[in-house]
Symmetry: D2
Subunit: 276 residues, 4 copies
C-alpha cells in the first residue's frame, strides 16, 4: 500500500534545550520512503543518526529559547511480507539468532521477569506459534480497558496488569512482557497508523516468530496493513517521538495518514514489515 | 469443637526492646477460652490491652538485653455460627452497619483501590453472596502458587496479583483486596489452625455477609472449623504475632493445635466465629 | 479563635450511588461547633455515624440518579491546647497508651516499614521531642516540591519519597511515614484551613508527643491556629471528604473559612486540638 | 596490570535448558586477553556471539538433563587509560555521540525518569565533570547500607533509593540512575574484581565523560585498577553471568582473581578500560 503521512509539532523552548526526535518513517526492505521532507521553522541545523541495529532515524536539534514548528511529510510504500498465521512457528530459544536474544530481557516498562507464573498458567498450554501471540493480544483486548488518561509516563506493564486500563503504549508493553515471559523475543514499535481515530502516533509491538519480526496490535484499533513503522526498541523509553533535555512547552501536535492506493481487501494474514 | 493449643517463642534481646505480642486466642461469643496460661521466662511484667472494636488481645513487654522464652497454652472451645452458604447474601453498602464501613478501605497490604476493573470484570457477574466470595477463594487457589519463601514482609496484594505466588498471608491479603474492590467489607484474621502442616501461625480472612463476619481460607490448607482466631485487623500489619521496637534475634518458634473432641463430620456450611 | 466555614459539593448520580461524606467539623474539647447546618438539595435522608475512637462525623447518603447539592456551614471555635515546643518530649514506646500503638503501623499510603534506614540515618541523631518532628517537616518542606497535579489517588509515601513532588495529602503521608519509622505514632488529619490559597480541603498530620496529639503541617501553607479538624485516620483512605460506591460526576466544589475573631498574634507554640 | 582470573559454575539441568553465559573477559583495547580457556564438562557444543556495540562475549549452551561444570580461566592484561579527574568534563548533551544517547534512557532496574527532582536538588549545583559523578558515588556510599541479602532480583533503583540497602548490583543501578537523571550517559558493568572479599562476580558502572566511558564503583570495595570487565549493558538484565530458559539447580560458584604483576602504587586517577 502507499500512504502520504506526516506530523507537525510545535514547541516553545524556555531555555537552551536539546531534543532528540524520532518521527521519520523507517526506510527498510518492507517499507520504502518514496519522498519526504523534514523542516524546522525557523530553520536550524539538525544532526541525523541511524543505528544499524534498529534502522531508527533519530535527529538531534539544539533549540535556543523561542518558538519552533517541526514538520515531517512523506510518501511511504509498504510491501509487507505476509504469511498464513498457522504456518508461523515459534523459534526455540536454542535456535534464536543471538542478535535477538536481548529482546527477551525485561526493560523499564516491561518487567517480564515478574510475570512468568501468570503467562505459563494462562498461555503455556496454547500451541506455540503466531496463534499464541494472537491469544495474548486477544487476552489484552478483552481484559484491559482502552481509556485515554488512565496511565501516564511512569506506568509500566506491572501496573497495567493490575489496574487493567491504559492506552496503546500500555497495550504494547503488556504484549511484549507476556511474550518475553514465555520466551518469545518481542519489541516495541512506534508508528503512523492509518484509520486510527483520533489520529496520533500509535504504538504496537513485534514478536520474533519463524525467523522474522511480525506485527501485533492488541488495541485492535487499526488494520495491520495500516501500520507504518517509525521506531523500534525495547519499550517506549527507546522510541519516544521527542525526548528533550532542557525546558519547553508544547502545543497540540497533529498527525495524519492517508492511503493513496488502498489494498483490495482486508488482510487475513500475518504481517512483517522488516527483514531484520 | 474443643482444642488445646499454644505457641512458644524464643528471643534474645540485644538492647532494650519493646514488644507487642498478639498470640492469645480471642475470647468472644463463638470462641471461648476455657483455660489458659501465659508466661515469660525469666518472669517480667506485661501489660495487656484489648481494644473493644476488635477484641484482640495485645500484650506489651519491655525486654532488657538477654534471653527470653514466651509461652502461651490454652484450651479453647469454638461454637461457630454456621449457615448454609446459599442463604447468605451480601449486604448492600447503603445498609451496612457504619461501623464496618472502614473495612472497605485499602490498607498497606491490600490496595483495593487499584483492582476494581479486574474484580468487576471477573466476579461482577457472579451472583452476590457467600458464593461470590467462595469464587474469589477458588480463583486465588487456582491462580496463585502457595510457595514458602516466595514473598516477604513488603509483599502486598498488588505484587501477589502480578507475581502469582505467596504464602497464607498473601492469600488472605488478596482475598480481602478483591472483596473490598467489589464493595464487600473484609478483614484479616491471624489464627491457630488445626491440621495445618507444617504447624505455624496461620492467616485467613473474613468477609462481612448477611450481617456477620464469615471465615474464608483461600489456601484450602485447613478445614474452616479448625480455625481459632487470634487477631483481626485490616491486614498483617495490624495483627502481627510479634511487633518489636528495638533489636533482637529470634529462634525458631513452635506452634501446636490439637483437637480434644472432633466434630462428627466435615462442615459443608459457612462458618462465623464472632457475633461482632 | 472563632471561624465561619463551610463547603458545597455538587454531584450528578448516574445510577444508585451510596456516598460516605466526611465534611463536618469535629466537635471535641479543643474545637467546639457552635452552630451548623447540613443540607442536601433535593432533600434526602442521611444517616450519621461517629465512631468513638476518632470522633469523625461520617454521613451516609443514597443518591438515586439525578443532581444533588450538598452544603455544610458551621461556626466553630477552637481553643487549642498550646505548649512551648521545647517542653514536649517523645513518649517511649514502652510507655505509650496501648490505644495509640496502632498508629505506629504502616497503611495504604504510609509504608513506614520501608523507610527505617533513611529516617534513622537522617533524624536519628536529632534530640527526641517536638523539635524532631519539626525537623521532619522542615526536611519535607525543603526536599519535596508542592505542585498541583504531580500526584494522584494511587500515590503513596514510597512514591513521593522518590519523585519528590506532591500536594498537601502527600506531604502529610510523608510526615506520618517518617514519624512511624522513628517509633512516633502519627496520623492523618483532613481539615478546613484558614488562609489556604486557593481554598480547598486541606491535609495535615498529628504526632503523638508528650501525651497528646500535636498538629504539624509540612506544607507550611497555613498557620497552625487556622486548622479546623474534620477527620482523623491512618491516611487519606480513612478520611476522604467523599467516598462513593456507584457512579457519579462531580462539579467543582467550593470550600471557605473566615476568621470571626482573629488571634492577637501568630502562635509560636505547638498546637493540639484534641484531648484524645 | 596483569591478572589470572576465572570462574567455575556447576549446574544440574532438570530438563532441556538453554543457557546464555557471559563470564568471559572482554578483549578490547584497554583490556587484553592474553590466554584463556573455556570448558564445559561433559563436553558440549557452545555458540559464541559478540555484538559489536558492546564487545560482550555471550555463549549459548543447550543443556540436556544432567550435571555440568562450566569453567573459564584467563590471563588478562589491563592498560587503562588514566586521566586526572579534574581534567574530565561532562559532555553537553548536544555534543554527545548519538551512539551513546540511548544510555540516557531508563531501564528495568534504573528508573531515571522518576528521580530528576532529587538529583537536580542534590547534585545540580556541583561542578559538572568527573567530580560530580564521584559525588554521586560518595552519596551512595554514605546513604546506602551494603548488606548481603537485603535485595533480590526484582529490586530496582526506585526501591533501593527508598529502602537504602543493597549489594553491588543495587549500588551500580543507583549510580546509573542518578547520572542519567542528570543527563550523563551511564551503563552497567559486570566484572571480575581483584581484592573483592568474599570473591564473587562484581558490578560497577561507567559514566560517559570527556569522550570516554570512565569506571566508578560506589561500593568502594575494590580499587578501580582491579576491575576486569566482563559485560556492559543498561543494567543487570543485560549482563547476567548466566541467563537460562528451562529448569536447573545451581551449586555454589567459585570466582578468583590474582594479580600477576601489581601496580607500583594505588591510582589516584580516573580509569577508563575501553576506547568505545
Amino acid at each position: 500500500m502507499k500512504f502520504t503521512l506526516g506530523s507537525e509539532l510545535q514547541y516553545t523552548a524556555l531555555r537552551d534545550t536539546t531534543m532528540i526526535l524520532n518521527v521519520e518513517a523507517q526506510d527498510v526492505p518492507g517499507q520504502r520512503v518514496l519522498t519526504e521532507q523534514f523542516s524546522v521553522t525557523p530553520q536550524i541545523d539538525t544532526e541525523a543518526h541511524q543505528p544499524p541495529e534498529t534502522s531508527n532515524r533519530y535527529r538531534r536539534l539544539l533549540l535556543h529559547p523561542g518558538d519552533y514548528t517541526i514538520r515531517y511529510e512523506a510518501t511511504v510504500e509498504t510491501a509487507p511480507f505476509v504469511q498464513l498465521p498457522d504456518r508461523i512457528d515459534e523459534t526455540p530459544i536454542a535456535e534464536l539468532p543471538l542478535s535477538v536474544m536481548n529482546h527477551l530481557f525485561p526493560s523499564r516498562y516491561c518487567e517480564s521477569d515478574q510475570l512468568a507464573r501468570f503467562v505459563w498458567r494462562r498461555f503455556g498450554d496454547i500451541e506455540p506459534g503466531h496463534g499464541r501471540v494472537d491469544a495474548i493480544c486477544e487476552w489484552i483486548h478483552r481484559n484491559v480497558d482502552y481509556e485515554a488518561g488512565s496511565s501516564d509516563g511512569s506506568t509500566s506493564a506491572y501496573d497495567t496488569f493490575t489496574t487493567r486500563a491504559g492506552v496503546c503504549r500500555d497495550f504494547a508493553h503488556l504484549g511484549i512482557t507476556f511474550c518475553q515471559a514465555l520466551g518469545i523475543p518481542a519489541r516495541y514499535v512506534s508508528a503512523y497508523a492509518w484509520k486510527l481515530v483520533p489520529q496520533d502516533f500509535h504504538a504496537v509491538f513485534e514478536a520474533y516468530l519463524g525467523g522474522r519480526w511480525y506485527l501485533f496490535d492488541a488495541t485492535r484499533l487499526v488494520p495491520p496493513e495500516g501500520v507504518i513503522r517509525i521506531g523500534v526498541g525495547r519499550d517506549a523509553a527507546d522510541t519516544a517521538f521527542a525526548t528533550f533535555f532542557g525546558e519547553l512547552h508544547s502545543a497540540p501536535k497533529s498527525v495524519w495518514v492517508n492511503a493513496v492506493e488502498e489494498a483490495g481487501s482486508p488482510l487475513v494474514q500475518a504481517v512483517s514489515l522488516t527483514s531484520s
